[in-house]
Each structure stands twice: as structure tokens, then as C-alpha cells.
């Protein structure tokens, strides 16, 4: 299988050094882009690649870049979203700690395409050691003239600064991230206007995930068509998946878009731990609907196929659960997460996630009241599509899908009579 993003992972982090990165093909795309491409042509090439945003939403990257107005009174910005915090996802971590320059090179090219001089990498605060790796890499890039003024004699000036987050999941939402970068609480902004028009400090801004930017040098070097044909027609290229949970070899795996989910689980990850049976899988980070083992059989890893199965490819965080897993408990765990991470800005999400968890908690103690499962479903319905940002949907969808597909795990928690409690205790 063609390795693109992870082609330098076997160097075990030595590619953090700019010389090693350059020995292995690094910083060839940037000079090429500056010499042979006009900014518009970079955007066209990215459009051709069918690259879609790797943070979770899957929005076509070239189109997003195309929304940025050519002329702007305010400065434009490229912001890298390195606030990786979607449960089940640890891919950007490895992209940055094993090959920081790849992403930096992609970001400089993006800044060139959009005409952005000052740019930021917003990294989650917990990844402090990775922030330090990135700062070292940036310093090396400045020293070699890939960053700073008049890059490689092109007349293009570009700066990249690291910015730490401080433990708020919501700051992965792009407008909340911009608020946070401006020194405020991470509350999402009303859209429209979208950041491409009014973003950071009011200027046109593109917010891209680490993985998205890491792909860009490859598109410039080998062409958008080359990248696209690695994947499917609508989901171009390869993607990095973090597989966690009950598999023999959890880890980060790069596979082409359209790769069968079951092959990822059985071949790459060596199957289910202890030879147990496969029960369920969350294919794209905790925010997406759960899939049963049966549903997973037909799924290939591209945006369309996962959507057809009733879930989403999301961030590519694949969480695998074996037959011993109680889906009520896993859903309770996820609900705790969203309750904790709700930013408090809008009522349906703030109150809804708390109420959901309250019901989960009494069911956890086998004190569920008759009707509680329906109540959970209804509460989720009252959040779904009614919250200010997508966090509310992310809290609601897992609950509804888990009830739809694993109802028996929920029903067991309802206190009907003493016999039932006794059974549960046994």
C-alpha cells in the first residue's frame, strides 16, 4: 500500500531534524510551489486532489480555500487546528512528533496560496512536548529560509507561531478555536459569516487540520490527480486512522480511502483481542453513530460508504469493542465526556448533556425508571440539530444510535421489580 503521510514514520522521529527530512524528500514541494505555481494554481491543484478536511467534517479543502476573498483590507490567516481531542483519535500527535516539517511545509504552501503572512498552529495544551518539537522544527525552517521574509527569493513573507490550548475540547470547533486564539473563552461563533470571510481578528481565515496540511506538499510534488487516484472518486488519497479498543495491535494506520473497515481491524490490527467476537465499532471518533459488527462488514473507509451505513468517517478514530462490552456503559462514558466538554453557551447542549448524564447515572446504578430509555432518546432528540454548534449533535447521535442498535444493553438497567435487580446483581 502506498504510504504518503507516514512515509517517514519508519525514521522513528529522526525526520524532526530538517536535514533528515530534506534527505527524504522534504522541502521540495515548497520551492516548486513558489517557482512554478501562482497562488490560484495551488488552490486548483488541491481542488483536483479531492482532498477533504481530515479534522472530522470532511469539507473539500480546495473549495474551503477558494472561499477566501482575493482582496482583503484585513490580513488573512492560515490556522492549523492541532487541538486533537476527539475521543479515539491520536493521529495528529504522530504526524507532528514523527514528521513535523511535513505539516509545516504544507502550511507554508497553504499560506502562499491564500496570501497569509502570519499564521498559527493551535495545539492542545496537553501535547506540550509536541509543541516543543514543533517549535524546534519551526526554528530550523526559519534558519534555512523556508520561513521568514522573502522566502527563497520569491518575495513571499510567512511566519508561523505555536499557540497552546488549555484543555477545552470545544476549541477544536474552528470558530471556538479562533475565539480562544484571540484570548477569550472558547465559545463558538455564529455562522455565517464563515471564517474564510470573517475569521481571526476579523480577517479571512482558513482553519485546517494537521493531517490536511500534511498532505499538501504531496499534492504539489506529485499532482492532485496522483493523490486523488490513491483513493476513491469522491474521497481522494489516503487517510490516517487511529484504531483503539479491543484489537490486538492498536495504533495509527495509513490506508487508502475506500479500504475495507474489516481489513483494517483484522489485517492491520490483528483482529479482536483474545479471539473474542466483534460486537461494535465507532468508526470516526466518539461523536459519530455506532455500527454493529454486521453493519461493519460492508463498510469501506471513505466518506460515502460510512455515511451509507448510517455513520460518519469523522476524524478517523476507530474504536473497536468486543462481545463483552456493555454498550450502555460505553455510551454513558461518552455522554460524560460531552457533559464535561459542553462549553455552556447554548441551552440545549448545556442542559441537555447534563440531563442525559443524570439519567445514565441512575440507570448505571440499576435504578432506571420505566420509560428512561425513551427519555434518553427524547432528550437526545431535543439536542439534535438545536444546539449552537455541532457539539450538541455529537452528544446526541451516539445515544440514539446506541439505543437503536443495542437496546437490550439499555433495558437491562431499568428497575422493574426485585427479581430484575437480583438478576443484575448476579
Amino acid at each position: 500500500m502506498t504510504k504518503v503521510l507516514t512515509s517517514r514514520f519508519h525514521l522513528n522521529g529522526r525526520a524532526c531534524d530538517i536535514d533528515v527530512y530534506m534527505e527524504h524528500g522534504g522541502y521540495q514541494a515548497l520551492p516548486k510551489a513558489l517557482k512554478e505555481f501562482k497562488p490560484d494554481q495551488v488552490i486548483e491543484e488541491v481542488k483536483k486532489s479531492a482532498l477533504r478536511g481530515r479534522g472530522g467534517a470532511g469539507f473539500p479543502t480546495g473549495m474551503k480555500w477558494g472561499f477566501v476573498p482575493k482582496e482583503s483590507k484585513r490580513p488573512k490567516y492560515v490556522v492549523c487546528n492541532a487541538d486533537e481531542s476527539e475521543p479515539g483519535t491520536g493521529k495528529d500527535r504522530d504526524l507532528m512528533r514523527y514528521d513535523p516539517h511535513q505539516m509545516i511545509e504544507g502550511m507554508i504552501i497553504a499560506a502562499y496560496a491564500l496570501g497569509a503572512r502570519d499564521n498559527y498552529i493551535y495545539i492542545r495544551g496537553e501535547y506540550w512536548y509536541i509543541l516543543e518539537i514543533m517549535e524546534k522544527a519551526l526554528a530550523q525552517a526559519y534558519k534555512r529560509g523556508f520561513l521568514g521574509e522573502n522566502i527563497l527569493g520569491s518575495g513571499f513573507d510567512c511566519n508561523i507561531y505555536m499557540h497552546p490550548g488549555a484543555g477545552a475540547y470545544i476549541c477544536g470547533e474552528e470558530t471556538a478555536l479562533l475565539e480562544s486564539l484571540e484570548g477569550k473563552r472558547g465559545h463558538p461563533r455564529l455562522k455565517p459569516p464563515f471564517p474564510a470571510v470573517v475569521g481571526l481578528y476579523g480577517g479571512p481565515t482558513v482553519v485546517n487540520n494537521v493531517e490536511t496540511l500534511a498532505v499538501v506538499p504531496w499534492i504539489i510534488l506529485k499532482g492532485g490527480d496522483w493523490y486523488r487516484q490513491l483513493g476513491t472518486e469522491k474521497s481522494g488519497g489516503t487517510k490516517l486512522f487511529t484504531v483503539s479498543g479491543h484489537v490486538n495491535r492498536p495504533g495509527n494506520y495509513e490506508v487508502p480511502m475506500g479500504y475495507p473497515l474489516m481489513s483494517l481491524i483484522n489485517d492491520e490490527c490483528g483482529g479482536i483481542t483474545g479471539g473474542r467476537k466483534f460486537k461494535a465499532c465507532i468508526p470516526g471518533g466518539s461523536s459519530v453513530p455506532i455500527l454493529t459488527a454486521e453493519e461493519c462488514e460492508k463498510v469501506t473507509l471513505d466518506y460515502e460508504s460510512v455515511a451509507a451505513a448510517g455513520s460518519m468517517l469523522g476524524s478517523g478514530g476507530v474504536i473497536v469493542m468486543d462481545e463483552t462490552t456493555d454498550i450502555f456503559e460505553t455510551t454513558r462514558n461518552i455522554t460524560h465526556f460531552y457533559k464535561h466538554e459542553s462549553c455552556g453557551w447554548c441551552t440545549p447542549c448545556r442542559e441537555g448533556t447534563r440531563w442525559l448524564y443524570k439519567v445514565f447515572d441512575r440507570m448505571h446504578r440499576y435504578e432506571g425508571r420505566p420509560g428512561d430509555v425513551e427519555l434518553l432518546y427524547d432528550l437526545a432528540d431535543k439536542i439534535l440539530g438545536k444546539s449552537f454548534c455541532a457539539l450538541g449533535d455529537a452528544a446526541a447521535m451516539p445515544v440514539q444510535s446506541a439505543i437503536d442498535k443495542f437496546r437490550e444493553d439499555f433495558d437491562r438497567r431499568i428497575k422493574h421489580d426485585l427479581v430484575q435487580i437480583q438478576k443484575a446483581a448476579d
Binding site: 486533537e84 476527539e86 475521543p87 479515539g88 488549555a166 479491543h246 466518539s286 462490552t325 465526556f337
Partner: protein, 156 residues
């Protein structure tokens, strides 16, 4: 009010942004590094440095979970409790630490050495279960590993 080196660092960080208040999260990390937590004086000082009102700084500090407005232990043990770690036995890790330290989640040991907290996803899902001691990650943690880790930290 920070050390000379940190004042210099903050001056430099402020130059990264067109508005000063963008430097608030880095500034709060500096405060926490120097004093162990964000003190009342830190809040006032940072407000002055970044042309903000005290309440504006306060509302930012209290939003982000990685800052503490109260003294905490020298070592903050942060056990990830979210799904991937939970599937790999995060609860047993927390219980083991509680047992070893004789303190519960959210508490600090009487000698002020350890604070135990449960946190949400740390991004080490494929290396679960994981925990963080201050900023240091520990991956694929076992109950026995916890014993060793705590013994090591106690002698430090």
C-alpha cells in the same frame, strides 16, 4: 512579577499577535509554572500586562481545565477516563492510584505532593490506558506500573 527569563519570554510571545490579549493562555501557563497555580496576584498582573480587565482574565482562567486557581500537588496525576482508555481498564488505574496514595479523585495528599484527577481524552487512545503526570505522558499503564511510578515520584 514573573522571573526575568519568563518576563522576556512573555514579551516575545506578545509580539506574535496583533492584539495583546491573545497571549493570555501562554501567560497563564507561565504563571502556573512559577507559582504552582494561578494566584490572585497573577490574575491582576496578567490583566495589567495584556491590557485586560481582571474579570476578563478570570473568565478565561475558569473556562480552561488545565489551569488551577487553587494550590495543587507538586505532581498532578491525570488519568484519562474516556472511552478508549476506559475499554482498557482506566478505572482500575484510578483505583490503584487512590489505594496507593490514600486519596480520592479531585484530592491532594496531605503532604502536598500528589493531586489525583480524572481527565477526558488525552489523545493517546491507541496507547491506552494512559495518564499524565504534569505534562509527562505515560502510555499503556498497568496497575503494577502505577506502583512503580508512584514509588519513583515519592523519592524525587
Amino acid at each position: 512579577m514573573f522571573s526575568k527569563a519568563n518576563e522576556k519570554k512573555l514579551d516575545e510571545i506578545i509580539t506574535h499577535y496583533p492584539v495583546k490579549r491573545s497571549a493570555i493562555l501562554p501567560a497563564l501557563y507561565i504563571a502556573q509554572e512559577e507559582h504552582g497555580y494561578v494566584t490572585d496576584d497573577d490574575v491582576k498582573y496578567i490583566a495589567g500586562r495584556l491590557d485586560m480587565r481582571v474579570n476578563e482574565v478570570e473568565e478565561v482562567v475558569t473556562f480552561y481545565t488545565m489551569y488551577s486557581r487553587k494550590p495543587i500537588g507538586e505532581y498532578k496525576l491525570q488519568v484519562c477516563r474516556t472511552l478508549s482508555c476506559w475499554l482498557q481498564g482506566a478505572e482500575q488505574i484510578t483505583e490503584r492510584i487512590e489505594h496507593r496514595l490514600g486519596c480520592g479523585v479531585g484530592e491532594t495528599t496531605p503532604d502536598g505532593k500528589f493531586t489525583l484527577v480524572e481527565v477526558e481524552c488525552l489523545g493517546y487512545c491507541d496507547l491506552a490506558p494512559c495518564l499524565q503526570v504534569n505534562f509527562d505522558y505515560h502510555e499503556k499503564v498497568t496497575p503494577e506500573g502505577v506502583d512503580k511510578l508512584i514509588a519513583n515520584l515519592k523519592t524525587k
